[in-house]
C-alpha cells in the first residue's frame, strides 16, 4: 500500500521532469512515428541511458548470433516508446482507490504508474542499490556482477526499495528489450533486421501462397520490413 501511495505522489514529479520534452498526444497517427537516429533523446537522460545500456546488453548481449540490444538500436526504440502514448500509460485505468490486494486477486502486478514513471524510479533505485552494495555505478560493474543483480531482481531475491516493484521493473525492461530487438526496424530497434535474421522470421511479408505446399522446408526468404528490404 505504502509503495503505491508513493507512486501516486510521484506522478507530479515525473510530469514536471517530462514537461519540457516533446510528448505525443493520445491520438496516434496512421503511420508509425519514425525514430530519430541522431542520438537526441526525448525522455532518457545521459545517466539513465548509461545504466540502461548496461542492463539491455546483459539481457541481449552481442555474440556470434547477432548484435547486442543497444547495438540493434533498442535504446533508440525505448526512448521513442517512452516519449509516446505507451510511455504515458495512455490506456491504463487509473481511478482509485488502489486496493492492497489488487496484485494478489489478479495474480499479476497492476500499475497505475506509467512506464515512463517506472523507468524513472526503477533506474534511480537500481543505481542507488549498486552504489550502496558495490560502491560503483551499475554501468561500471563487472558483467558477472551485473548478471547477479539482474537475476536477483528477476527472482525477487533483491528488492530495490519501497517505491519500486522490483520484479515488475525487471519484466518491463526485459519486455521492452525484446520488443526493440524483434519489432519492425521502423521503431528504431532490430537494426538491419538482425533480430529477425537470428531466428528466421522473414518480416513484414504479406503473401506466402507460393510457399504453403513447401511444408517443413528451409525457405531462405529475403527479409522485408515496413521500411527496408534485406
Amino acid at each position: 500500500m505504502k509503495r503505491r501511495e508513493l507512486l501516486f505522489r510521484a506522478v507530479a514529479v515525473v510530469t514536471a521532469v517530462a514537461a519540457n520534452r516533446t510528448t505525443h498526444g493520445e491520438e496516434e497517427g496512421l503511420l508509425p512515428k519514425t525514430t530519430r537516429r541522431d542520438g537526441v533523446r526525448k525522455v532518457l537522460t545521459q545517466g539513465q541511458e548509461e545504466i540502461l545500456k548496461a542492463v539491455f546488453d546483459r539481457l541481449i548481449p552481442g555474440d556470434e548470433l547477432g548484435p547486442s540490444a543497444s547495438g540493434a538500436g533498442c535504446l533508440d526504440f525505448l526512448d521513442d516508446q517512452l516519449a509516446g502514448g505507451y510511455g504515458e500509460g495512455s490506456t491504463i485505468y487509473r481511478d482509485g482507490p488502489v486496493q492492497p490486494h489488487e496484485e494478489q486477486m489478479l495474480q499479476k502486478a497492476q500499475f497505475i504508474s506509467t512506464p515512463r514513471e517506472r523507468y524513472y524510479f526503477g533506474l534511480k533505485a537500481l543505481e542507488a542499490y549498486s552504489l550502496k552494495t558495490d560502491g560503483a555505478s551499475f554501468a561500471d560493474l563487472q558483467s558477472d556482477r551485473q548478471d547477479e543483480i539482474l537475476r536477483g531482481m528477476e527472482t525477487g531475491k533483491i528488492e530495490l526499495g519501497e517505491d519500486v516493484n522490483t520484479k515488475g521493473f525487471f519484466e518491463l525492461m526485459l519486455t521492452n528489450a525484446r520488443e526493440g530487438y524483434f519489432a519492425d526496424p521502423c521503431y528504431g530497434g532490430n537494426k538491419d533486421m538482425a533480430g529477425w535474421k537470428m531466428i528466421g522470421f522473414p518480416g513484414a511479408r504479406y503473401d506466402y501462397r507460393a510457399y504453403t505446399e513447401r511444408t517443413g522446408q528451409e525457405l531462405n526468404l529475403v527479409n522485408v520490413s515496413l521500411i527496408l528490404k534485406g
Binding site: 496516434e28 496512421l30 503511420l31 508509425p32 546483459r58 539481457l59 541481449i60 548481449p61 555474440d63 548470433l65 547477432g66 505507451y86 495512455s90 490506456t91 491504463i92 485505468y93 487509473r94 481511478d95 486496493q99 490486494h101 489488487e102 486477486m105 489478479l106 495474480q107 499479476k108 497492476q110 500499475f111 497505475i112 548478471d147 539482474l150 528477476e154 526485459l174 525484446r178 520488443e179 524483434f182 519489432a183 519492425d184 521502423c186 521503431y187 533480430g195 537470428m198 531466428i199 528466421g200 522470421f201 522473414p202 518480416g203 513484414a204 511479408r205 504479406y206 503473401d207 506466402y208 501462397r209 504453403t212 505446399e213 511444408t215 517443413g216 522446408q217 528451409e218 525457405l219 515496413l226
Partner: protein, 590 residues
Amino acid sequence: MARNTKADVVVVGLGWAGSLIAAQLSHGGMRVVAIDRGPRIDPQTDTPLTVDPDELRWSSRKELLAKPRDNTLTMRNTLDQIAVPQRELGILELGGGAGGQGFHWAGMAWRFTPWDFQVRTETIKRYGMPRAEDGELQLQDWGLTYDDLEPDYDGWERIAGIAGKAGNLRGKVTNEGNPFEAPRSQDYPTPKLKTLRMMEIFNKATLELGLNPFTIPAANVSEAYANPLGAHLAPCTYCGFCQYHGCGNYSKSTPQTCVFPYLQKEPNFKVISKACVTRVNKAADGRTATGVTYINESGKEIEQPGDIVCLTASQMDNVRLLLVSGIGKPYDPLSSEGVVGRNFSYQTVSGADLWFEGDKINPFIGAGGLGSQIDNYNGDNFDHSSLDFIGGAGILTLSRGGAPIAKTNNLPPGTPRWGSGFKKAYSKYYQNHGVLFNQGTSMPTKHGYIDLDPTYTDRFGIPLPRLTYTYSRNDRAMAKFTKERAVEIGHQMGASHVAPFDFAQKPFTTAIGASNHTIGGAVMGADRSTSAVNSYLQAWDCPNAFVIGASAFPNNAGYNPTGTVGALALRAARAILEKYVRHPGELIED
C-alpha cells in the same frame, strides 16, 4: 436534452451482431440508426498492407482495442471478497472502433454441437440428476435446439464466406471434415484452407491415435468470394497478421468487409460514431423502451428515440446496459433468483506447449483461424459415465502467424530468458515450437455472475461491471482430463519437450488471458424466471428490446463464440421482420 429524429430501430454497437441486424432490418424497410462508441475504421485507410504487418503496433500495443481507461471491469473470485479493477488489458478485448471485436478477431468460425444447447436436459438424460445438480453448477437449456438455429448458422457462414469442409452434410458423415459436427444443410461457402506444417504433424499423430483431425473452419476466405450482401472478399495470402490486426487484403471476414459495403449503400441506414450509449430509456409503463441516451464526441448528452432497441454492444456491455437501465431483475447469487447478470461463463483452457528438434515449422505462414482440431473429447462426444465431469474441449493446434515478439515467451521450461543462452535457444526453437490448445466448455455456476461495482466507475461516472467468478469443480476436472489427452498427443507428435498448462488449476483472473471469450449474463431460455431473453433474444421484461451477443449463451461450448453470435443475430432479425412487427410491443409466441 437534445433529441434526434425517431428511428424504427436503434442498434447499440456496430460489431458482428449489430451490423447483421442493421443490414437485415434496413433491407426489410425499417429505418435503422446504429450508435457506436468507436470511430469508423476500415481496412483500406486504417490497416492497409503497408501498415498492417506490424506486430508491435497491433499485437503488442493492441492499438485496435478499446482502452481499459475507457472500458474495463472489476473482478473477484468469491462473494466475500472486495473486487478490484482490471487496470491494463486483460481478458476484455473489445473493439476500439466500429466493427467491434469483429475487426481484430482471429477468425475461428464454429457452430456449437446440439448438446451445447441442451446441456441440462441431456446431462440428466444420459448421466442422471446428480451430475447436473452437483450443488455448484447452474445448468439450463437455451430454449432452442441446434436444428432451430441451423438455417441462421448457414446464413451467417454465407455472409462471412467461411472456409471449411463439411463433416456432416445433411446427415451424411464424410471423412474430410469434422465427423462430430451436427448435420449442415450446405457445405461451407469456400474450401478449407491449406494444411501447414504444424497441422501436418498434428494430423498424422492424431490419426495414429485413432482420433479424427480436421481443418478448423475459418473466417479467412480461401478463394475470391462474393457474399449475398454483394461484398467481395479476396483469397487469404497466409500472411499471419490477423489476430489483433486488421486485414488490408480483404480476406478476413469482418463487419467491415462483409456487411458495411451493403450498409453504406442502404438509404434506411445511418450510423452515429464516437458516441457512447449510457442507458436505455423506458416509458412510464416500465416495460417499453423509448430509445437510448448517448454521449457524443464533444461530451454532449443526446437522446435517440426508437420503436425497437437492439443491444449489440458485446457481452459485458449488454449486461451492464441492462443493469444500468433497470431492464430485467438483477441476479441474486444467494437465492439464485433474478436474471440479469446470471450464468456468467468463460472458456476453460488447458493444453501443452511442444518443442521439436530440427524441424522447420515456418510459423510465419499462417492465418488467424487456421489450425487442426480433434473433437473426440469435445462436448458430449465421448462417454462421461465413468468420469466425474461433463463437457470437454476442442483440442487444436495453430498455424496462426510468426509473431517474433510474442514467441520470445515460447521456450522450453528451464531455458534462460535472457543473455546469450536466450538467444541461442530462441534461434533454435522459433522454428520448432507448437501448441496444443484445449478450448474447453465452461459451465455456469450459482455464484458466477455480473452486477454493478459499488465503487468504481467509468469516465462518465457509470458503475463498472463487477464480475464474480472462478472455475467450478466440474470444469477443473474437465481441464485436467483434456490436458492429459494433449500430453499424449504431444508425445505422439514426436515433441522432444512437452510442457502442459492448465489455467483452471488456479483461481480465475481477468488479468491473464486464457481466452477473451466472456459469456452470459443476459441468457436466453424458455423460462422467464431463469432467463433475461427468450429464444428470439427478446427481453422478457421489455418486449421492444432485443439483447444479442454472447451475453445470451447460458453456458459456453468448447468453441469460439462468433459463429453462434452471428447466427443468433440473424435469428433475431428474422423474428423481428416476420413476427414482431405484426404485434409490436408483445412477446413473440413460438
